[in-house]
């Protein structure tokens, strides 16, 4: 298959699928001729493209969809929610097929007959729809490990490492399943190497699993340690850890055993080759306005001009001209920076446009009547942020639909319109982008939150009396908050909010909640425009310079060394009545000490959520804008280090990953 065309095909078919989704939703509320025509056109184009590329399944499905649209257009069938359901299911199915193509370069062998049948028999009557993927997909993932995995396991065992099989079951009502799985992965990764998961990682990420999944991990740690740290993750129903025994897979390899040794080298190479092929196919593309590229091109040509100008200058005589040239150069570089950043910017529409569908499906499921208003979809954000923000937003929207908006009868009783409204709004605010998700539902019952907090001993009754509203709300972000009290109707308001918050903070942003009883709740998410450039505090540790992101810093203080106490083995200090653990960066990072110990310690107080840590440094250099660079694939996963930056003198300074120090 010609790759060059494949990329274009994928890009365009995704657009058409989005188009179909949008217009189907519009059609449901407003069956107009021109919308039907528009859908017809999208389906037809998709069919044509797929046909040319030889993806027959896609063209078969679109063909059937087309005939159904034809009937609708001729007035043979009326538009009903059931028909829209079926059509949306088919669009989902098409999307899955296209995902398969993105991953493997071919259509895969999903069974399309059920969908085709469905489309042919003009739905209307049949209310129930069988999920097609569940039956034909995953033909019971092979219990056995493949050769490469076996080899890893054998190697690990010979080194005396454990191989654990970790079976995780999630709570049945767990909302953000993939996010929970992500937390599990992250926790396990700190113990060793994950070699296999069931179902495959991609499916877990796409939430294509029921309530449980299995992870195989090679680790030097024992079972208890794993169990202990996994149990801190909320919404897990059970954790079962078993050791994978050598004989459980030995049998499979016995026959190929000896001869395999010689071919080991090539197996690895093959695996690597496969890996890179895979990477190539899923590489991300970005559509860029040609005007922006032209601007970039112009700036580069100016850069070349200035370079020639500097080349031709005489070092001694042309002082004034030189200064001018350098100034000019400065202007070009900052323009160039802006232009490149603009190229990376994507309208948030790309994320927002999935939500009308989410709201429609959920409100049908819960028989609520909800309209979604989207504002500021053209607001632009960095591509990396856009990729990450989808899941947290979906979660918040589900929260609003599920818990915020009341049932129509209840709303009428309260004197509100039967139709609830969820508003999604994005706008620029200085160097930030703000995303607001507001509903006109029942609001958060602060008393209930407070009661739960007291019941969970997050706070005692006396203290609770003096809490401000914002402090009460902040309990909602506590890990696992409200998951245990399914009885109260605030449950769910806390479910997964900790995950949402962690995600947003990892993007350098923040989240706030405003709520008024019976008027509604607003979630305010603030995100930085771009991730690549941040403000940082430069500090010296021994002879080495490190950068600490300013967003993680609460304050800097000087503490006398006599104010440092020991609690068990850890050093702490008391700051305005709050006990703060202390980490000496020099020891943490194995820096050679320069020997001079002073009585006063310079400390940078960093925060993660509500917790603080004091980092002891030798001295502070000052605040600086730094460009974040990655350490590359060779050195990923280095503990405590988030990346590197290049200083004015051309040397490299490392950026500390404060989150990993807690």
């Amino acid at each position: 298959m010609n790759n060059q065309y494949l990329d274009i095909f994928l890009e365009e078919s995704k657009e058409h699928i989005q188009n179909l989704n949008d217009h189907l939703l519009e059609l449901e509320s407003n069956p107009r001729q021109d919308i039907i025509d528009e859908i017809f056109r999208s389906a037809h184009t998709l069919k044509g493209m797929a046909g040319t590329m030889g993806f027959n399944r896609i063209s078969e499905i679109t063909h059937e969809m087309e005939s159904l649209f034809g009937d609708i257009r001729n007035g043979k069938i009326a538009v009903s929610p059931e028909i829209i359901d079926t059509l949306l299911e088919s669009v989902d199915f098409l999307e899955r097929l296209i995902e398969d193509i993105t991953e493997n370069g071919e259509e895969g062998d999903r069974d399309i007959n059920i969908i085709l049948e469905k489309l042919k028999q003009n739905p209307g009557a049949s209310a129930q729809f069988k999920e097609p993927e569940k039956e034909d997909k995953k033909p019971e993932a092979n219990q056995n490990f493949n050769e490469f995995e076996e080899r890893l396991i054998r190697e690990a065992m010979s080194k005396g490492l454990f191989v654990w099989e970790v079976l995780i079951k999630l709570e049945a009502n767990c909302l953000l399943k993939s996010a929970r799985a992500f937390l599990v992965f992250k926790t396990l990764e700190s113990f060793g190497d994950i070699i296999k998961t069931k179902p495959i990682v991609q499916d877990i990420e796409d939430e294509k699993f029921d309530d449980e999944f299995t992870v195989y991990i090679i680790s030097a740690h024992d079972k208890q340690e794993l169990e202990k740290s996994l149990s801190s993750i909320s919404e897990l129903r059970s954790i079962q850890i078993k050791e994978v025994e050598q004989r459980s897979f030995e049998g499979a390899t016995a026959n190929s055993g000896e001869s395999q040794k010689d071919t080991v080298a090539c197996t690895v190479d093959e695996a690597m080759v496969k890996n890179t092929n895979h990477l190539k196919k899923t590489s991300k593309t970005l559509r860029v306005d040609i005007e922006r590229l032209d601007k970039l091109m112009n700036l580069v040509s100016e850069l070349i001009i200035i370079k020639t100008r500097l080349d031709g200058m005489d070092e001694k005589t042309d002082g004034q001209k030189r200064r001018e040239a350098v100034e000019y150069l400065e202007r070009i570089t900052s323009n160039l920076h802006d232009a490149v950043m603009k190229v990376r910017m994507v309208p948030i529409e790309n994320v927002f446009n999935r939500f009308p569908r989410v709201v429609r499906d959920l409100s049908r499921e819960l028989s609520k009547n909800i309209s979604l208003i989207i504002e500021g979809a053209e607001t632009e954000l960095d591509r990396t942020v856009i990729d990450e923000i989808g899941d947290p937003l979906i979660h918040l929207i589900r929260n609003s639909v599920d818990h915020g908006i009341e049932m129509p009868e209840e709303r009428l009783k309260k004197g509100k319109a039967a139709q609830g409204t969820i508003k999604l709004k994005a706008y620029h605010d200085g160097n930030n982008v703000v995303i607001e998700i507001s509903d006109d539902g029942r609001g958060i019952d602060l008393n209930k939150v407070l009661k739960t907090a007291i019941a969970r001993r997050l706070i005692d009754k006396e203290q609770a009396k003096n809490l401000k509203e914002s402090e009460i709300i902040s309990f909602l972000f506590e890990p696992g908050f409200s998951t245990k009290e399914k009885v109260t109707d605030i449950s769910g308001r806390g479910v997964g909010l900790d995950v949402v918050k962690t995600k947003i903070e990892s993007l350098g942003g923040g989240i706030e909640i405003k709520t008024v009883p019976d008027k509604g709740t607003t979630f305010l998410i603030r995100l930085p425009l771009t991730l690549a450039i941040i403000q940082a505090l430069m500090v010296m540790v021994g002879e080495e310079k490190y950068a600490i992101p300013l967003s993680a810093i609460k304050e800097t203080v000087i503490v006398a060394s006599r104010d440092i106490k020991r609690v068990q083995k850890n050093e702490v200090t008391c700051l305005r009545g709050k006990v703060i653990p202390i980490l000496r960066l020099g020891e943490l990072l194995d820096v050679k000490s320069n020997g001079n110990h002073t009585d006063d310690l310079t400390m940078v107080i960093v925060k993660k959520g509500e917790r603080d840590i004091g980092l002891v440094v030798d001295s502070m250099i000052g605040q600086q804008e730094i460009v974040i660079k990655s350490l590359g694939n060779f050195l990923n996963n280095i503990k405590f280090i988030a990346g590197a930056t290049i200083l004015g003198d051309g040397k490299v300074a490392l950026i500390l990953d404060v989150n990993t120090m807690f």
């Binding site: 060793g192 190497d193 990072l589 060779f634 050195l635 280095i638 590197a644 051309g650 300074a653």
Partner: protein, 151 residues
């Protein structure tokens, strides 16, 4: 068909002569300031600023469990790329580019002095000279590196 000729960048570690396939070599740099990376595997010297790009640098001799490199005027950093990994390797000196016909390359002997033969691709023979050819995939093998960094 003409016989297949491969080209190698020849470099020295101590007195031994090594070769790395020229297709995997990006540039050869003089020694430059290296920033230490804490918690990295011991053979990782740190990172350098290679014209705006951050590149990790390893001491090839430490990687092979030989004596650490003493830095001299001849010390070079050979920047190599393998798939999506770019790494600088510190070597005692980089000498020349040599051409070897495919048949002059023999499989690596199981015992070489000191160096794990796993790291080797073979041995090249040219005018009585022996050139030890590196298998970069093994030298930079990701599994081993992530494991080491976690110890």
């Amino acid at each position: 068909m003409a016989e297949k000729i491969r080209q190698f960048v020849e470099f020295k570690l101590g007195e031994e002569e090594y070769g790395v396939d020229i297709l995997q070599v990006k540039t050869i740099e003089r020694m430059m300031p290296v920033t230490r990376v804490p918690k990295a595997p011991p053979f990782v010297e740190g990172v350098i600023n290679l014209r705006g790009e951050i590149v990790p640098v390893i001491d090839l001799k430490k990687r092979f469990d030989l004596e650490p490199t003493q830095i001299t005027d001849n010390t070079r950093i050979i920047i190599v790329t393998l798939d999506d990994i770019t790494v600088g390797m510190i070597v005692d000196s980089a000498t020349e580019v040599i051409q070897l016909p495919q048949e002059a390359i023999e499989p690596a002997p199981t015992i070489t002095n000191g160096i794990d033969s796993n790291f080797l691709d073979g041995v090249g023979k040219l005018d009585g000279k022996l050139l030890i050819l590196l298998n970069l995939a093994k030298v930079l093998k990701p599994q081993e590196i992530t494991q080491l960094s976690r110890m």
